[in-house]
Each structure stands twice: as C-alpha cells, then as structure tokens.
Subunit: 206 residues, 2 copies
Amino acid sequence: MAWDTERTRRLLLEAATAEFSAHGPDGARVDRIATQAGVNKERIYQYFGSKDALFDAVIAHELGEVTADVPIVGSGPDAIGEYAAALLERIVARPELGRLIAWEGLVRGTEIEGRDERWRHCRDKIAAVQAALPGVDDRQAGHLLLTIVTLTDGWRVFPQLGAMFVGDGARPEAQEERRRELRAVAVVLAERAVADAAAASAASGS
Amino acid sequence: MAWDTERTRRLLLEAATAEFSAHGPDGARVDRIATQAGVNKERIYQYFGSKDALFDAVIAHELGEVTADVPIVGSGPDAIGEYAAALLERIVARPELGRLIAWEGLVRGTEIEGRDERWRHCRDKIAAVQAALPGVDDRQAGHLLLTIVTLTDGWRVFPQLGAMFVGDGARPEAQEERRRELRAVAVVLAERAVADAAAASAASGS
DNA sequence: CGAAACTGCAACTGTCGAGTTGGATTTGAT
DNA sequence: ATCAAATCCAACTCGACAGTTGCAGTTTCG
C-alpha cells in the first residue's frame, strides 16, 4: 500500500467533522479525533497545525460541499421553495454543517477565518436568487436567504424549540411536516419579494 | 448589613448568565463567574451544586423573564408582527437567552432540565397565538412560533450569516432593517395561517 | 453571651487535555 | 540497497480547571 497522505488527511477531516459538530471547538477532544480516524494524534499537528486550525479546515471543507450539493434550480417563487426544502432535507441527512456554523457563530462571532471566500459564496447565492426572482434587489435577496438558512440551520441547532412547539423533531413525520412548512414559508416570502420589486419598479417607472 | 443570601445568589446568577452566554457550558470558567460576581468560588457549590446545575438555573431564570417581558398584544396578523419585532428588539438588547438556548440545544439536545415547566410556557404561547389568530390550529400556531423564535434567536446565534447576507448585523441600521423584515415575515406568515384556517373551515363546513 | 449559619480567603488535590518529543517502523523513489 | 519522508507509539510536559478543605472573621438569633 502506497503512502496515501490524502487519505490520512481525509480520515482526520472526517473524524474532526463529527467530533467538532458533536461537541464544538471547546468540547471536542483531539485524542478522540485521532482515535476515531485511526491515525496518530501527532499527525493532526503536522497536517493542520492546531486544534483551532483544524476546526477552520473542517468548516471550510463542509461549506464547499453544501454549495455544490444544493443549487437553486428553475425560477420563480416555487424554485426558492424547492431550494429551501432541499436545504432542510440536506441538513437532516447531514446535520454537521449547521451545527458547526452555530458553534462558530457562538464562539467566534463575526471574526471568521476565510471570510473572503465565504463572502464570495454568499454573493453567488444572492445572485442565484436574483436570477430566479427577476427584479429582486440585493437587500431583499439577502434577507430571503438569511431567513431560509437561519430556519434550516436552526432546525437542528435548537432541537428543544422544535420539540416544544411542534413535537419531537427527530420523528420522520415531523421532519417531513417541517419541510413542507419551510417550503411554503420560502414560497410566500419569495412571492412577497417579487411583489415588492414589481411595486418599486412601477413607482419609479411612473 | 444583614446576611443577604438572595443578593449573593443573584450576583452569582447574573455573572453566570454573562459567562455562560459568552462561552457556553464548556468554555465557561467557574473562577471567572466567582470573580465577576465578587463572590467566592466555593459559594457556587453551596448554592447550586455544580457547574452544570448552575447552567440549568441560569436558563430557567432567563426563560422566566422573557415570557413576562414580551407578551402578544392585540389580535390579527399585525399583532403577531409586533410580537416578532418586540422579540427581536429584546434579543438585541439582551442577547443572553438566545445564545443560552443555542448552547443548550447544541450540547444537550432535547434532553433538557425542567422540561415540564418549559412545555407549559410553550403551550401558553401557542394559546396566545391562537387567541390573536382565531381559527388557527395548534400545529399552525406551533410552526409559526417556531419560525419566529428561530429567526430571532438565530439573528444573534449566527452573526456570520447576517454579516454575509445583509451586512454586519451589529450596525444599528442593520438591526432596524432586520426588525422591519422580521415583522413583515411574521405578518405574512400569520396571514397565511389565517387564510389556511378559513379555507379548512370552509371545506369542512360545506 | 454563645451556638449556628454565612462568608471570604487561600491553598490544595486530582484530573484532564493540548501540544511535544524521540525513537522505531514502514513505504516509495532512485 | 539505501535514503528520505510518512507513520506509529508511548511517554512526557505543562498548564488549566472543577471541585474541596480548613480556618478565620461575621452575622443572626435564641
């Protein structure tokens, strides 16, 4: 078997993703990550430098995946609804990123690593929303996306709220129900954004 | 000066609220809480038993306050909009509870302390929504509340998202803008819930 | 006054965990 | 075969932190 440094790196990243997602930057244990990956703890420092840097690497990696996994297809409010539903489905199947983002927000605030690249991602998404909803401006598209992403991430970050307000969120039926609800919410908000845009354009055009 | 055990307890609770909100159950330091409160660390164990128990006490205390602070006044979709706006205003002024709930959700999941009392709070809120929006059933009211609470809490829990999508969320104008947006979202969703309820009642009535 | 409870203070214990180090072993390339 | 890089292993350092203890001063209340 060849020296497969990419494999070692990948194993560490996968184990770290699970560990950081479950316990956060403070609760995560470097030893557990190493054991879980079946790799020596010392390797982590060779590859990533520090626990914090590993956390950043994990987030950057996960973020790259979700963007590719869940595109906005089609156009019109329904397309936004489908996007929201797909995003929720994805976060149920892979809750890691939502939780990681929450840990990051709580611990680091807005001072995040790799801000530039992430900002580019967000601009792209905003542009994609605008492509699907012609006439909607940056601000409206940004708020719409913020609302959708907050609701999807929040579903797995505040599980108590779901359990209290709509019954245990781990139940498959609850997942499905919430997915329908979120899709409907996204559609309604997208329709509103389009209507606002039309009204604004009519006002300025007259 | 008389022995004021309530004051000692209150000082500890206040300091613990700030510390846990800022750093979470894992990141919080018992020594810092004691120093901040101007009370000896040992007192914490006399009064609350353990770091974990102190965390639970902090959440229970904060939760009691918010329910009293932000009621639903009036009726109709606009009342729900006002409620959402007031909730966001409150979380900007006192971000502690939102962050505590997030820490709790991330670390403890749905297995929370004092579940019964909290469940009662939630039932009350759902009933209050139904009082403001006649005809709306439990499920719809629950989803509406879940959406509103997730969006308000998320605003301070995912500060990066706000910064990326709508500009730095710490700016006062951004706060105000998001507040208007959230109010509008809540109104739209409340209107939709009412319309759904009317349609359902018409269908069953015919 | 005197016992009992409350508090402050400071040092202590024991554990846990991040990061390091040195040496042995394996592997691919030349 | 040989060398350099990648890996494993195990023990180690060092600091941090939760929780404890003993003691001395203070307040309350009988």
